[in-house]
C-alpha cells in the first residue's frame, strides 16, 4: 500500500489515486499529534487581503474558457482599438504604395 506522512496533519495517510485500489485503501493513521499549548495554526492567522477585487475580476474574464483570442478577450474596447489599428495600417499601407509609385514615375514637367 502506498502511503505518506502528511506535512499538514503530521499523520500517515493513504494516498487516493492510481497507486492504491480504492477498495483496499484503508486509511493508515498514526497517533494523533499533540501540539504544545499556545500553538498558532495557519487558519487562525488573520486572513490576508488576498487578490484585490478588480484583479480577481480580470483573472476571471481572461481565464474564461472560450475561443476569443487574447487581443479581443477584454471586451468592446478591444474591438475598437484593434479596428482602429487595422484601419490605420490599411490607409498607411496604401499611402506608402501610392508614394512609392509617385516617386518611381514622377510627373514630367510640361512647361
Amino acid at each position: 500500500m502506498f502511503y505518506q506522512r502528511s506535512s499538514v496533519t503530521g499523520r500517515l495517510t493513504s494516498v487516493n489515486g492510481v497507486q492504491t485500489p480504492s477498495t483496499l485503501s484503508a486509511a493508515v493513521e498514526g497517533p494523533a499529534v499533540t501540539y504544545p499549548v499556545g500553538t498558532t495554526f495557519p487558519k487562525e492567522l488573520p486572513a490576508g487581503k488576498g487578490v484585490p477585487g478588480l484583479l480577481a475580476q480580470k483573472m476571471k474574464l481572461f481565464q474564461a474558457s472560450n475561443d476569443i483570442p487574447i487581443h479581443l478577450k477584454g471586451g468592446p474596447v478591444d474591438k475598437v482599438l484593434f479596428g482602429t489599428t487595422i484601419a490605420l495600417c490599411a490607409v498607411g499601407l496604401a499611402g506608402c504604395l501610392q508614394y512609392f509609385y509617385s516617386m518611381s514615375f514622377p510627373k514630367k514637367n510640361t512647361e
Binding site: L54, M59, H71, K73, F82, G95
Partner: protein, 262 residues
C-alpha cells in the same frame, strides 16, 4: 483559448501585432522619406500613431497572459529574462558604435578642426555644472529603484510605490534638465564632428531615458493595480535592469564626452 495545459510552456494565441508593427515601421520610414522630399508629415504621423497603438496593445496582451492568465511559468520567465538580457546587450553594442565614433574623432583630431579637442571654436559645457547634477539625479534614481525592489520583495506595497514613483519623477527631472541644457547649448549638431558625436550620443541616451521612464511608469501603474507580488514581478525587474543600463551609459557619457572630452 484555454489557460490550462499539461506542460510549462506558453503557446501564444495568433497575434495581429507583428503584422501591424511591421506595416507601422514601413509607414515610419516611408513617412520620413516623404517628409524630407515633400515637407509633408501626414504619413509619418500616421506611422507614429499606428506604432503607438501596436505597442500599447501588444504589451497589454503580454500583461494579460502573464498577470491575468498565469501563463508566465518559471520556464517561460527564463525565456523572457534571456530575451531582455539579449536586448540590453544589443543596446550596449548600439551605444558602443557612438563611443567608437567619438574616440575615433577625439583621440587624433583632424587638421580640419584645428587638431584639437574640443575643436577650435567649440565652447563645450562645464562638466561640473548641469552634467554633474544630471549624474547625481540618475545615480539617485538607481538607488530609489532598488529601494522599490526591496520593498516589493518584502511585500511593502506602500514603500514600493513611493520608491518607484520617485524613480519616475527623477527620470522626468533628468529629461527636463537635459532639455534645458540642449536649449542653452552654444553649439549645434551641425557644428563639426564635435556637435555630431555629442548630440547623437547624448540624444540617443536621452531617448533611452524617455523609454525607460515610460517603462517604469507602466510598472508604477501595474504596481498600483497589484500586478506584482513579492516573488513574481518580472516586468518590474526588466524595467529596473533597463534603467540601470541607461544609468551606466550616462556614466560613460559623462566621463568620456562631458569630462575628458570637454
Amino acid at each position: 483559448m484555454t489557460t490550462h495545459s499539461s506542460h510549462t510552456y506558453h503557446l501564444v494565441d495568433m497575434s495581429p501585432w507583428p503584422l501591424t508593427g511591421s506595416i507601422s515601421a514601413m509607414m515610419l520610414t516611408t513617412g520620413l522619406v516623404k517628409w524630407f522630399h515633400q515637407l509633408n508629415i501626414d504619413l509619418l504621423l500616421l506611422g507614429f500613431l499606428a506604432t503607438l497603438l501596436t505597442m500599447v496593445q501588444w504589451w497589454r496582451d503580454t500583461t494579460r497572459e502573464g498577470t491575468y492568465q498565469g501563463l508566465h511559468t518559471k520556464r517561460v520567465m527564463t525565456g523572457l529574462k534571456w530575451g531582455m538580457i539579449l536586448f540590453i546587450t544589443s543596446e550596449v553594442l548600439f551605444f558602443f558604435s557612438f563611443f567608437w565614433a567619438f574616440f575615433h574623432s577625439s583621440l587624433s583630431p583632424a587638421i580640419e578642426i584645428g587638431a584639437s579637442w574640443p575643436p577650435v571654436g567649440i565652447q563645450a559645457f562645464n562638466p561640473f555644472q548641469v552634467p554633474l547634477l544630471n549624474t547625481a539625479i540618475l545615480l539617485a534614481s538607481g538607488a530609489t529603484v532598488t529601494w522599490a525592489h526591496h520593498a516589493l520583495m518584502e511585500s511593502n506595497h506602500t514603500q514600493a510605490l513611493q520608491g518607484l514613483a520617485l524613480t519616475v519623477v527623477l527620470g522626468l527631472y533628468f529629461t527636463g534638465v537635459q532639455a534645458m541644457e540642449y536649449y542653452e547649448a552654444p553649439f549645434t549638431i551641425a557644428d563639426s564632428v564635435y556637435g555630431s558625436t555629442f548630440f547623437v550620443a547624448t540624444g540617443f541616451h536621452g531617448l533611452h531615458v524617455i523609454i525607460g521612464s515610460s517603462f517604469l511608469s507602466v510598472c508604477l501603474y501595474r504596481m498600483y493595480m497589484s500586478h506584482f507580488s513579492a516573488t513574481h514581478h518580472l516586468g518590474f525587474e526588466a524595467a529596473a535592469w533597463y534603467w540601470h543600463f541607461v544609468d551606466v551609459v550616462w556614466l560613460f557619457l559623462y566621463i568620456s564626452i562631458y569630462w575628458w572630452g570637454g
